[in-house]
């Protein structure tokens, strides 16, 4: 299949890639750019493991075509930590044991980060509903909710 050429920005870096028109942003990230931090759990937008932001909007990268993302700004899990310094959410996920197998973790972190940008002081219910698009099969969600609430508190007082 004939590929198309796309120029865009990912985690602040200018990036060029070629992709087939059927390839999703997720395929591009993982298979063309080898940015494998973004995970595929379903390919149909039902699990949230592939969450990224596209021009600041939280999306499932499996439901975005690679061909659509020219001249956009994309943020993935790889852009979350600043050098060696983890984002407070990343640190709180570790502290609260909010991850077990970890396959859903990048998507949950990207989604949680977006939540706290929109709502720095979410209630437990708001956290649970915001994260309802991110499936986790290991933790039962409780420690994730606790970690997000704790990170929010820390970020508010910072």
């Amino acid at each position: 299949m004939k590929k198309v050429h796309i120029s865009t920005t990912i985690n602040g870096d200018e990036v060029d890639f070629l992709c087939e028109p059927t390839q999703t942003l997720l395929d591009v990230l993982r298979d063309e750019l080898h940015m494998t931090g973004t995970k595929e759990g379903c390919g149909t937008g039902d699990c949230g493991a592939c969450s990224v932001t596209l021009d600041g909007t939280l999306v499932c990268s499996c439901l975005v075509l690679g061909a659509e993302v020219g001249d956009k700004s994309i943020e993935t899990i790889e852009g979350m930590a600043q050098g060696e310094e983890l984002h407070p959410l990343q640190q709180k996920f570790i502290d609260h044991v909010a991850l077990q197998c970890g396959i859903c973790t990048p998507g949950l972190l990207v989604a949680s980060k977006k939540l706290l940008e929109r709502n720095p002081d979410p209630s437990e219910e708001e956290i649970r509903y915001w994260l309802a698009g991110n499936l986790c099969r290991c933790t039962g969600y409780q420690k994730i909710v606790e970690a997000v609430a704790d990170a929010a508190q820390e970020m508010r007082s910072a």
């Binding site: 299949m1 004939k2 198309v4 087939e20 028109p21 059927t22 999703t24 390919g43 149909t44 937008g45 039902d46 949230g48 969450s51 596209l54 909007t57 939280l58 999306v59 499932c60 499996c62 439901l63 975005v64 075509l65 061909a67 659509e68 989604a111 977006k114 509903y129 915001w130 309802a132 698009g133 991110n134």
Partner: protein, 289 residues
Amino acid sequence: MDNLRYEAADTLAHAAQLIAAESGDVRVLAGGTDVLVQMHSDMIEPDLIVDIKNIPEVRTIQQEDGGWRFGAAVPGLELMDHADFCAAWPGVMDGVKLIGSVQIRGRASVGGNLCNASPAADSVPPMIAASAMATVFGPNGSREVPVQDIAVGPGKTSLEKGEIVVSFSLPPRPAHSGDAYLRFTPRTEMDIAVVGVAVNLTLDDAGICTAARVVLGAVAARALLVQEAADALIGTSVDDAAIENMIQEVRAACRPIDDKRGTIEFRTKVAGVLAERATKIALERARGA
């Protein structure tokens, strides 16, 4: 799909021209949350994808003639973030807020929800209840179509080849109007309506219902506007007896199927339950407005 092409249109005319020129299967891409799923599961194998979301008309929200107009490709999240629109049409927003997850609502639009033509689409019953009109653009120019006439059956619309839904207009609301949408799903989020009910009411100063629209989702091949259910409310104070009559009409109108998401019996019964609950919310909103 072996030679799929992707084209982004920047004007309506451009989109119409691209679609008209393609002899194979064309899909219009707005948020993509249905089209990409269907491609992923090989349900569709398009030859051309026309991305319309860069066309200004499909992305704007504005007040118009005392009512509202919003683009068909406006993502749900943008509507949710529009405080004035949310205040004006809370029932429409009840539906929009239930589409998929946060991630899905970041992309999915009311236009896409409508044109995907699923009988279970959450934004469609409240839009019909709101008497929304769709502006459709195609090779023969523009036309205005009531939203209830767009989807005609699962996956099927009344749109001609080359036609796209550009935007929706919602009429001005009389005083004491309120709308609401409720659906039943086994999960709290990330689910498909087993039944959905939208109610839109207007009361007079004495609290008597002067206008009503009751719309059911997922109980037939397309969303059902049930005039008999509305008639049961009009002229009443929307008291328990009127609501009971409305429930009977709602259940009588249901013609659902048994499928993986629900049974005929369950859907019919719950349609009545949700109709009552949605009516009470709409009533409360109407009294407060």
